[in-house]
């Protein structure tokens, strides 16, 4: 036999296992302590050759900078390593389950990315002559057609950039419709469980907000809506399914009451992903609804890409939709961009036409799934949320009883009562276990809310592991083993942050340790 005579040990020596000493660098193996960009580089360095600026004089009237800008100077590998290291500290849907309720962190299929990188889509410019981009116009028109088909609505505005922007778009159309009737109504009704952006949107447009209290079962009572309705109410902003993960069963009765009072029905479509292919908002009496392409239709978000929030309109509101809109048929598509095209439109919402890259991805997702696949995605999202509910309902507490939920399941902190463990502690302990926490303390209608949305992307194996982890944590919390929670997270690069100090004494500007050396002349 051949002997290893190198002297290289292949296993730890007996009895050497002990607490790890602090490292000299502060790094922990591949977890690197990353300095700021300014602290890595030096102003004298530059990663590229920049020619000296010619002396062109100044027309800034003495307002030009006289001090060196003090920009960080890094070589290309230094700059690249910095950002790659930062990216490795980030948690992403590409790394694991991202169960943020109401955020719909579903997988972003790679096929979407491939389509978005086709040069005909990737390289178009919004100021190109329309005649040079018939393919892009056709894609926008096709996507608009799918969105109208799925929602049963008459028109769609493609330009809104995200959910809250879509809310603003929809409510501006409602305001324009009321003004066209010669009415200046003053109030918007918003349920207690609404996303905070709903009342903010209403307030931004100058409306007062009246809150609709939640019924004991977590949904909106049509009688409570009727009690608040009068001829000062411009509309209602309702989320369906709502943020408790429950379908508003009385939505049609609510819509009827709203319309009878001469008001309009805005639906926050953030949770449309639960009902695609199952229910059409147009059939529920909805007048306007935004669709988060970055949630329901799998385009990247949360740092990965811009949102996109097209808004669909009922026949009643369609004339007031914003510009531009793709009009025409077949090979004769064009963008209607002027008032003359749509005289009642409330105007333009954005400089250009919308998030083209997201349109490509969303349409790729729709075409890859087909109508049956999109319906199945909704069903699987609901199934997965209920699998999580069923797996945890004996240990964690459900504020509205153990009943079937939609695409997300809402727990409260009743199961932690008198344990000394809070929802925040519980979430921090999840970080130690390698999970991104769920949405915490929202919606506001339940105490210590934990809102979990697994999405259809997770396999049974992934959900089983997630459920088992939460069960372990819940058992320890209830058994009084609180050490695991009170100091969590223990294993992350940074321990629990002092949110109070961060808010009371924020350090918003980096200041150099010593004066920045002037750039070499």
């Amino acid at each position: 036999m051949s002997m290893n005579t190198q002297g290289r040990p292949s296993a730890p020596a007996d009895g050497t296992a002990s607490a790890a000493p602090e490292t000299f660098t502060g790094n922990k193996a591949l977890m690197i302590e990353e300095p700021l960009l300014f602290e890595i580089g030096h102003v004298d360095n530059c990663g590229v050759d920049v020619p000296d600026a010619p002396d062109i004089g100044s027309r800034l009237g003495g307002l030009e900078r006289s001090e060196p800008a003090g920009l960080p100077g890094l070589s290309e590998p230094e700059a690249m390593r910095h950002y790659v290291r930062l990216s490795q500290k980030n948690y992403a849907i590409d790394l694991g389950i991202y169960p943020l309720g109401s955020c719909t962190m579903k997988h972003n299929p790679r096929l979407n990315e491939k389509m978005a990188r086709l040069p005909g889509f990737a390289d178009v410019h919004p100021l190109q002559p329309q005649s040079s981009v018939p393919g892009a116009l056709e894609l926008i028109d096709t996507l608009a057609g799918w969105l109208k088909e799925m929602t049963g609505m008459a028109a769609v505005a493609m330009s809104p950039k995200a959910g809250a922007h879509g809310e603003l778009c929809g409510m501006m159309a409602i305001k324009a419709a009321l003004e066209a009737r010669g009415e200046a109504r003053s109030t918007v009704l918003v349920p207690a469980s609404a996303h905070g952006t709903n009342p903010a949107t209403a307030a931004l447009l100058g409306y007062g907000v009246k809150e609709i209290p939640a019924r004991d079962d977590g949904t909106v009572d049509p009688q409570a809506v009727a009690d608040l309705l009068d001829d000062t109410v411009a509309g209602i902003m309702l989320t369906n399914p709502n943020t408790c993960g429950l379908f508003e069963r009385d939505v049609i009765a609510i819509a009827d009451a709203v319309h009878k009072a001469g008001a309009y029905f805005y639906c926050d479509g953030a949770n449309f992903n639960a009902i695609v292919g199952k229910a059409r908002p147009g059939d529920l009496g909805i007048d306007a609804m935004h669709i988060n392409l970055h949630k329901t239709f799998s385009t990247p978000h949360g740092g990965g890409g811009p949102g996109a929030g097209p808004v669909v309109f009922s026949q009643a509101l369609a004339p007031f939709a914003p510009l531009p809109e793709v009009v025409g048929e077949g090979d004769d598509l064009r963008l209607a961009e002027h008032r003359a095209d749509l005289p009642q439109s409330f105007g333009r919402l954005t400089a250009f036409h919308g998030q083209m890259g997201m349109f490509v991805r969303a349409l790729a997702y729709m075409m890859a799934h087909g109508s049956d696949g999109l319906r199945r995605a909704s069903e699987d999202a609901v199934l997965n949320a209920n699998y999580v509910r069923a797996g945890l309902s004996d240990l964690m507490s459900l504020p509205f009883g153990d009943r079937v939920c939609m695409h997300e399941v809402l727990f409260d902190d009743a199961f932690l009562k008198d344990t000394g463990v809070t929802t925040l502690d519980f979430a921090k302990a999840m970080i130690d276990e390698g999970y991104h926490p769920m949405t915490m303390y929202f919606p506001l209608v339940v105490h210590g809310a934990m809102l979990i949305e697994p999405t259809e992307s997770e396999s049974k194996a992934s959900l089983d592991l997630f459920i088992a982890t939460l069960r372990d944590l819940a058992i320890d919390a209830r058994a009084g083993k609180t050490d695991r929670f009170s100091g969590a997270p223990y294993h992350s690069p940074r321990r629990r942050l002092d949110e109070t100090r961060a808010a009371r004494q924020p350090r918003l500007v980096w200041t150099p340790a010593e004066p920045v050396k002037e750039a070499a002349e």
């Binding site: 303390y441 949110e499 109070t500 808010a503 009371r504």
Partner: protein, 123 residues
């Protein structure tokens, strides 16, 4: 004697002026207070209308004027040390003083026992 509102403000009447703050229960629910926005002196406030904003690590909440009147003083010290609201909500953590339009309105607010019962029923 302190009086209380259902929105968890407290009121202390001296002559025709009231001092207003948020209750100890309110500060315990809010958590660490990090910012307080106070009204301008001389502003007219209505009963139940917004008088100030208190922001904690958890949420931003409006503080309502318990009675109608005119703002005569604000607690500027809260700008430097918003934590005073947590430490002494019903004393040095006061928010505003209001010259009351109708003193009888103050008497209609809850007394300490009624407020305590109200909090227990809510909690």
């Amino acid at each position: 004697m302190l009086r209380f509102t259902k929105d968890h403000e407290w009121v202390r009447l001296e002559g025709t002026e009231v001092t207003v703050g948020i209750t100890d229960y309110a500060q315990s629910q809010l958590g660490d207070v990090v910012y307080v926005e106070l009204p301008e002196i001389g502003r007219a406030v209505t009963a139940g209308g917004e008088a100030a904003v208190v922001e904690s690590v958890k949420a931003a909440s409006e503080v309502y004027a318990p009675v109608a009147g005119e703002v005569t003083a604000v607690n500027d010290a809260l700008a430097e040390n918003p934590g005073t609201v947590n430490e002494d909500a019903e004393g040095t953590g006061w928010f505003v003083k209001i010259k009351v339009a109708d003193v009888a309105e103050v008497e209609k607010l809850m007394d300490e026992a009624a407020y305590k019962a109200f909090v227990e029923a809510e909690g």
